[in-house]
Amino acid sequence: LLVAACGSSGGSGSSSGGKTVYMLLPNTTTVRFTTQDGPDFKAAMKKAMPDAKVVIQNAENDPQKQVQQVETAISGGASAIVLVAADPYIAGGALQKASVAKVPVLLYDHDARGGPAAAQVVFNSLSVGQNQGQDAAKLLAGGTTAKPKVIARIYGNQGDYGTTQYKKGQDQYIQPLVKAGKVKVACETYTPNWDPAKAQSEMEQCLTKTGNKIDAVVVMNDGTAGGAIAALKAQSLTGKVPVIGGQDADLQAVQYILLGYQYSTVYKPFKLQASKAAELTVQLLKNGKIAKSDISGYVDNGFMKPGVPAVFLPVQDLHADTVSTLVKDGVWTWKQICTGATAATDTCKKEMG
């Protein structure tokens, strides 16, 4: 019944007059894609081009499934594809498929290596890492060679494109400090599948090993940050040992930031990204290409020269004093944020009256 309802809403793209745009999401575990980007993009398209139909697919973390979805999009009569690569490293097949079928692809957020794309709307992954690194450098500035700051680094899934980029960005700021002897890395570990529960036990082990002598934790996203904070909580270290370097502005992370447990999260204004993507999609549908003026740079994807024409959007590094941005942008409401223990924070008291 559900299927029928979904399928009949727009009819087949190839036969009806309106154009169909497929948005292909990578997984269901990175909450923002299903809860924010998908609906936001759909809404933005509705505004920009009411007769266009948007179909959203999710590859459930399987690149193989994503190629299949590209193929299906093509036979379903897609006029454009907005692709969030399930695995940026092996998105080539999907891109080639679309290019052979002459369906323009707009890359969304994730890079996609190994094939042609019309454009990319992106928050630079490297700059996410750089932001996280900067935060860390700022907090760790007090370290000296005599009394270096001791940190734990919890990476993402080993072998992921993102993990590699974030690490590169973070290292640009952290490595010099390490070299100078001002910062000591006590533990570093990859977290299989970004599993928060794994991050938690990794953190517990690090605390055990060092006897709680940790000055800061540097992570790569909000999920693993949550795991680390749960481990710190058990040692009553929350608030004393800052967790630096989340990203995605997950609801729980925002709450932790207000509670003072998490230092920062890199916020990528999803709404902005979605509306920019919608804007470019409309250009693609109408003109088949994107205006030069919109392009602000290129992303090297190992295939296109000089790279995928890109619209770089600024990421924002959010701290306790700037989380209101999220409310302004409509990501979360204060009502959503100020639940449970968070309700008792000063910010919440002020906002909720």
């Binding site: 193989q64 092996i90 080639q96």
Partner: protein, 416 residues
Amino acid sequence: MTTSNQSPAAVAATSSPPPVARVEGRQSRRRQVLDAIAGRYRFVPVVLMLAVIWAFFTAQDSAFMGNRNITNLLVQIVVTATIALGIVFVLLLAEIDLSVAANSGAAAALTAILVVNHSWPAWLGLLAGIAAGAAVGLIQGAVVTQFGVPSFVVTLGAQLMLLGAILVLLPGGTGQVSLFGTGIATLSSTYLPPALGWALTAAGIVAFVLLRLLALGESRRRGIGMSLVREVVAPGILVGAASITAVAVLNSYLGVPLPVVILFALLIVFSYITTQTRFGLHLYAVGANPDAARRAGIPVARAKMIAFSLAGALAALGGILAASRLLGVSASSGTGTVLLESIAAAVIGGTSLFGGRGSVWDALLGALVIGSISNGLDLIGAETVVKYVAEGSILVLAATVDSILTRGSVFARATK
């Protein structure tokens, strides 16, 4: 009580009274049909299910039955079907292989590195990958048979180790290998010219009919009556019609894709081996009763090791085909849903998890069911939740139908 206490003389044999005869006639016909469906004609309900799925999606979106989408569908299922084919072998022997997905990823990584970083010719890299997959399967088979360790555990452990191997294999800095422009990539972008497609089809049909005729002749010479229509004509028409339709559809788009040709070649070869040769028969014997097989002098351990090697080799081939489609390998190769889907395909197709029952064609049919659902749901733009629920329930439904059909037949599980 009617016939009791009579003299020691025999009572005349009872001729069954009318009401009983009626019951018999009705019941026995129904039972015979059920028996046939549980046995030789096990594919019928799966094909029916497939027909329902296709009809449903075609009604939703006519593009589903387009030449192009059919071509897509066939190409999409090749990887699952190839890996499921290997799974059928291990399931036939009442074993399981949970390492196939990781094995496919590792083999693809190996092939990619040999071809891209070490400049091996594509065919050699392909062979090396398949050989590596077979070797991994063989080792697992050896542990299973020599120490009697449950294959569930061995292959689960091997899966973890192979995931580690993928990380080791992939070049340190980048964690990926691109296959764009290599010979491996052409594997999945090649389509047969229409004429060649037709020629292969014709050859296949003729060979099929000849084989059937041969068997019929032998039986009749030995005085064993067999029906020409049931043994030769009907199957010949069925197989002929199905393959001619399929090739016509494919040819009207881009031609028969090379991966599809590979899959069918494998299916035909393994179908011959499992149904016509001694080794094939032994697989069924070992799967049903390894003890009896061993007493009959069948090398049980060898059969199992061969099955695991085949599963490994086919997983490797599947992985390489997947990489060829994705134009690269990375740490996510060998993860994802391919493991569960290929096992599910074999089971939905009709292969029993308890050994001794199944056919290599089950891999194809099951992969078609799963692939069609996934393809169709994508096409109509169903939500993720709908997909999860649809795939989960079709799986359970298919297995329920199977077990209701085979219930009470020798193919049923010992008991419920």
